[in-house]
């Protein structure tokens, strides 16, 4: 018995809520919806009165809704077109004319005219994102009307999420994840919210386009070293580092030298957006045929790699040491694999600025292609390597 009582007590709030909701919903109408008001006119004994003229007046807006005469069962009704009704509570005065020994009587009924449901979208998303990166998009859908919006759903591109029912003034926020395209530029997110209006069943829909920008990014690395050194002689070489992107780029630099000391140099720096810097280093050639310098610059998942080979001359050689920057650039190799061991032809000419731009651009493309999210672009990476090789070949041909 106690358990039964508890169950009923537990149900009580639900039942009360339900009854209140039903009462509130009973006399609500969405503006534009046709509302039927039906009355029954009887005498003191409950017997129907026939032929009584019944007037229906919207006191709030001062508009007569309509007039009807009771039928043989005492019923009269009007259909109120609420298209022009002011949103809010309306008092409908219902009164009967005095005639044939039937006095005038009146009553009132309250009707709440709701403004139509109106879905609105707002978006919180970064204005600029990096290529191929996933980024979070928070979509807030709000029902700005007074009628409830049912079964609201929000779509972002191909993804759809349900927001449930939105009462008047309610809003909910949904999270989506979008992926930036490969190429820098201006893009937009297409958002669509849809639902059904309570009361009328009208289809609700609104859309929003939000633009965002995919940033440029990339890092370029080029080694400048003399084409030859004498055995046991110290020489200088430098790394030209460029940040092609729009954000500051912290880089860690790792230089591996073969045939020279030190065998490894580590460095780090942060490059401002769209800036370049040259880092200079010294090494000493040891007894070997050549010095191979390979450098790797890495910032996050951006990497650039370059390698040069310097010819080592005998210590008693009279061949003058070439200026820095004349070293042979080794064919580009993937940074994750072992550096090439072959000896590339010497290329004593300075490198032009245009060439540097091409190289860095290609390097960037190559490095980007090796990021985990870009495995699908391996073909593109290979193409970039071919372009780089061709460009370097052209450079050597044109060198005086």
């Amino acid at each position: 018995m106690i358990e039964l009582s508890r169950r009923y007590l537990a149900l009580l709030p639900t039942l009360l809520t339900l009854s209140v909701a039903l009462a509130a919903a009973g006399n609500q109408v969405v503006r534009g919806q046709a509302l039927t008001i039906r009355v029954r006119v009887t005498d003191e004994n409950g017997n129907p009165l026939r032929g009584v003229r019944v007037h229906f007046l919207d006191e709030t807006d001062g508009v007569e809704v309509g007039v009807d005469s009771t039928d043989s069962t005492g019923y009269a009704s009007v259909v109120w077109d609420t298209s022009l009704a002011t949103p809010g509570a309306h008092s409908i005065l219902i009164w009967t004319e005095e005639a044939d020994f039937v006095e005038s009587a009146q009553t009132r009924v309250s009707v709440v005219v709701l403004s139509p449901a109106e879905l609105r979208l707002s978006v919180s998303a970064p204005a600029a994102v990096r290529p191929r990166r996933g980024f979070r998009v928070e979509v807030t859908v709000t029902n700005a009307g007074q009628a409830a919006a049912l079964d609201v759903a929000v779509s972002l591109n191909e993804s759809t999420k349900g927001a449930g029912d939105l009462p008047a003034g309610a809003s909910t926020t949904l999270e989506f994840t979008a992926v930036a395209p490969d190429r820098p530029g201006e893009y937009s997110l297409s958002l669509l919210a849809s639902g059904t209006e309570w009361g009328t069943g009208r289809r609700l829909s609104t859309s929003l386009e939000v633009s965002y920008r995919v940033e440029l990014e990339g890092v370029a690395l080029e080694i400048r070293a003399p084409p030859s050194v004498r055995e046991g002689e110290s020489f200088n070489f430098s790394l030209d580092l460029s940040n092609l992107g729009e954000r500051p780029l912290p880089l860690s630099i790792q230089v591996n030298l073969t045939g020279a000391r030190p065998g490894r140099i580590e460095d780090s720096l942060t490059l401002d957006p769209r800036s370049s810097v040259t880092r200079a280093y010294s090494a000493t050639a040891v007894e070997a045929d050549q010095v191979r310098i390979s450098a790797l610059a890495q910032g996050g998942d951006l990497r650039a790699w370059d390698e040069v080979v310097i010819q080592v001359l005998p210590a008693d050689s009279h061949h003058p040491p070439p200026a820095e920057g004349g070293a042979t650039t080794a064919p580009p190799q993937p940074p994750t694999g072992p550096p090439p061991t072959g000896h590339s032809p010497r290329a004593p000419a300075r490198r032009g600025a245009a060439l540097a731009v091409n190289v860095t651009t290609d390097v960037r493309a190559r490095e980007s292609a090796q990021s985990p999210v870009r495995e699908i672009s391996a073909a593109g990476s290979t193409l970039a390597l071919v372009v780089l090789t061709v460009l370097r070949g052209l450079w050597r041909v044109e060198d005086p």
Partner: protein, 214 residues
């Protein structure tokens, strides 16, 4: 005050037969007229004639040159109801050589209850209305309010006034309505009833049975 006229023919030395019973109401004036004649049928002028109730002289007069006379009596408002014997009496008059003679008249004294009443013009089912009025000629008793011969309310008369409450039944039809106000008549009491006109109106009830959007 109403007047009631009786004719009497008195013959000297002979008693005329009694007249048929006459109904008079309290307050009425009863008039008795006649001619005094001698045995030869000749009028007797200058003779005294009296109207008596018992030994009480109600009126007296002297006959004219043609022997005619007229006597009158206003029935007192507190006069006992019922039959009354009146006597037309000619006392002995030596100067005229007329001996005493008399004849009797039988009358009935009645009371007349006259009702006046008023009530609301518009009544409704379930209302309790008041019918008020007065009864002339009756200080106490009971009044009845009737509709279609059926008594629907009663009330006492106090000092000639009454105030009867009537609960309007729920089955009375709408429209014009006539109520009759009367009273129970006792012996030798006549009633002049009255009517109260009213209209029964319906107070409609409006029930909103549906408010729904379409």
């Amino acid at each position: 005050m109403r007047k009631k006229h009786l004719a009497a023919l008195l013959l000297a030395m002979a008693v005329a037969p009694a007249l048929a019973q006459t109904k008079v109401y309290r307050g009425d004036v009863l008039t008795v007229s006649g001619v005094i004649r001698d045995e030869l049928g000749n009028p007797v002028p200058g003779a005294e004639v009296q109207l008596l109730e018992g030994a009480t002289v109600l009126d007296s007069t002297t006959t004219g040159s043609d022997g005619s006379f007229t006597l009158s009596w206003q029935v007192p408002r507190d006069h006992e109801l019922g039959p009354v014997t009146l006597t037309v009496y000619v006392p002995e008059q030596p100067s005229l050589y007329v001996e005493a003679s008399s004849t009797t008249l039988s009358v009935e004294v009645w009371a007349l209850a006259v009702l006046t009443a008023s009530g609301p013009q518009r009544i409704h089912r379930g209302d309790t209305i008041a019918i008020t009025g007065s009864v002339q000629g009756m200080d106490s008793g009971t009044v009845e309010v009737r509709r279609g011969g059926v008594t629907v309310a009663t009330g006492p008369v106090r000092e000639g006034q009454f105030n009867v409450s009537l609960a309007v039944p729920s089955d009375w039809p709408k429209g014009p309505l006539v109520l009759t106000v009367t009273t129970q008549a006792g012996s030798y009491v006549d009633v002049e009833e009255c009517q109260v006109s009213a209209e029964l109106w319906i107070r409609p009830e409006i029930v909103v049975t549906e408010v729904s959007g379409g």
